[in-house]
């Protein structure tokens, strides 16, 4: 328990230091690195997010539609899919995908740098590793996770619509009409806020675990594994509390 509290405290300190470094984000070299990280974290994850989001929307539409069909209400699947995707499934699926792909990659890179003394080398060159390594990734993920989440919501809704039209006999116009009728602006910004929070959680966990890696390849492996587990758990817990704060 004491270790958990200590690690949480260290991770929050790391996050605080990285946030304090955000003021340097428009320095030319930092900005270039942020753009590079946005590509690495975001664009390279588009493929997997496209597949997962589309099928999540399709599954949601199919399961909900089949149940609602029993009551002749399948026309309402548009609202169900839209609200589920925006409020929960979009940010949640995006967060989990990024934790597994980007979070693990960041942890492995930071861990390899830590055991290879590259981070120590930065320190003795008086280059702040948090500003040099963590801040660009934090900013990149804080920008890209909400964007990817929004993208996954759109794909989920489109996927749900395809199932609605082809499997449940719902007209496309009725589906879209229903989807837009039930959704509120709040659903959008709460979803985006959740995604931003998940992005920050993933980078913080990955950098904290990576920086603390010791004992060579085994240490890097452990840091990567812990990053994925911590990110998954933190995303679940944070997601619940954000929903509770905004909707209860």
């Amino acid at each position: 328990m004491l270790t958990v509290v200590r690690n949480l405290g260290r991770a929050l300190l790391l996050l605080g230091e990285a946030v304090a470094c955000v003021r340097f984000m428009f320095v030319r070299r930092s900005f270039r690195e942020i753009v590079r990280q946005m590509f690495v974290c975001g664009i390279k994850s588009l493929g997997v997010i496209t597949v997962v989001a589309s099928f999540t929307g399709m599954i949601l539409a199919l399961q909900t539609g089949l149940e609602m069909r029993k009551f002749g209400q399948e026309v309402y699947i548009g609202g169900a899919v839209m609200v589920s995707m925006l409020r929960e499934m979009g940010p949640f699926m995006t967060g989990l995908i990024l934790a597994a792909s980007v979070g693990s990659a960041i942890a492995a890179q930071m861990g390899t740098m830590a055991v290879g003394e590259e981070i120590a080398a930065l320190e003795v060159m008086s280059i702040n590793p948090v500003r040099f390594l963590v801040m660009p990734r934090l900013v990149a993920m804080a920008i890209m996770t909400p964007l990817l989440s929004f993208y996954s919501c759109i794909l989920g809704v489109v996927g749900g619509g395809i199932v609605g039209v082809t499997q449940l006999g719902v007209a496309w116009s009725a589906y879209i009409d229903n989807a837009s009728r039930f959704v509120e602006t709040k659903d959008l910004y709460v979803g985006m806020f959740k995604a931003l929070l998940f992005g920050v959680i993933i980078v913080t966990a990955a950098c904290h675990e990576g920086f603390g890696a010791t004992q060579g390849a085994v240490g890097v492996g452990n840091a990567t594994r812990r990053t994925v587990i911590i990110s998954f758990l933190a995303i679940l817990v944070a997601g619940y509390f954000v929903t509770r704060i905004f909707y209860v």
Binding site: R29, E117, A120, E123, V124, M125
Partner: protein, 259 residues
């Protein structure tokens, strides 16, 4: 120049440094030798405050490094160049960009001057044609030389070397020895070299300190070191087939260290 006073450090419940008292004079090359796991690298890390002593103090000049933080620590560290055991090059940057990194991040030099300085230092370590290659594309010896070029790119007063010749073939190891010795002779830098390669230490060291079980058990010039009657020093010398000064000289290792 560098002073360690009663430095003690525990790591993993084990005492690694057990009261180290050591002074490094300006312009000298102090080699710290000893078997693996005796705390040589740990001691080196205390000098640039990558580690903080549990007891004792570390000074660089008049500055108390062991309690320095923030901008003061940054200023102290700017006096150092450090060659890490693996070279510690950033893998996603080319050799040239690695060497240029401290200049780009910590100085206001324009790119033209940075490139000129990088070329000069890479030339010095014999890597002029490797500037555009990535660390993964070069050999271990070249990585160490690239790391050395980065360590000296800001012309530091003090250079710390962590096992500069470990894992290298004898020819590459002697090349590194010559570079270290050249830097001392040409630029007058103060050096601390941690190594378990006694041939290297005897070649380049102004003085040699032997660390065993967290303590300095012998400290003296190469001649005094070889003549030491301390049991651990004798064992260490014999383990590397150096039993008398004459044998070491005949081995040819001393050639690089003629001063």
């Amino acid at each position: 120049m560098i002073r360690l006073e009663g430095v003690r450090k525990w790591l993993g419940g084990r005492v690694v440094l057990n009261g180290i008292d050591l002074q490094v004079e300006r312009g000298e090359t102090l080699c710290v030798v000893g078997p693996s796991g005796t705390g040589k690298s740990v001691m080196l890390k205390h000098i640039v405050r990558l580690l903080t002593p549990d007891e004792g103090r570390v000074y660089v000049g008049d500055e108390l490094v062991s309690q320095a933080a923030g901008a003061r620590l940054e200023k102290i560290r700017e006096r150092f160049g450090v060659l890490f055991q693996s070279g510690a090059l950033l893998e996603w940057l080319t050799v040239g960009d690695n060497v240029a990194l401290p200049l780009r991040e910590k100085t206001r030099l324009d790119e033209e001057k940075i490139q000129a300085r990088v070329r000069e230092k890479l030339d010095l370590v014999g890597l002029a044609d490797a500037a555009t290659r990535f660390p993964a594309e070069i050999s271990g010896g070249m990585r160490k030389r690239a790391g050395l070029a980065r360590a000296i790119v800001r012309d530091p007063e003090i250079i710390l070397y962590d096992e500069p010749t470990s894992g290298l073939d004898p020819v590459s190891a002697r090349t590194i020895d010559r570079l270290i010795d050249d830097l001392r002779a040409r630029l007058g830098v103060t050096s601390v070299v941690v190594t378990h390669d006694l041939h290297s230490a005897l070649s380049i060291g102004s003085r040699i300190a032997m660390l065993a079980e967290g303590r300095i058990v012998e400290l003296g010039t190469p001649e005094q070191f070889i003549a030491s009657r301390h049991e651990e020093v004798r064992q260490f010398l014999e383990s590397q087939f150096i039993t008398r000064r004459g044998e070491w000289e005949r081995s040819g290792s001393h050639e690089t260290g003629q001063r």
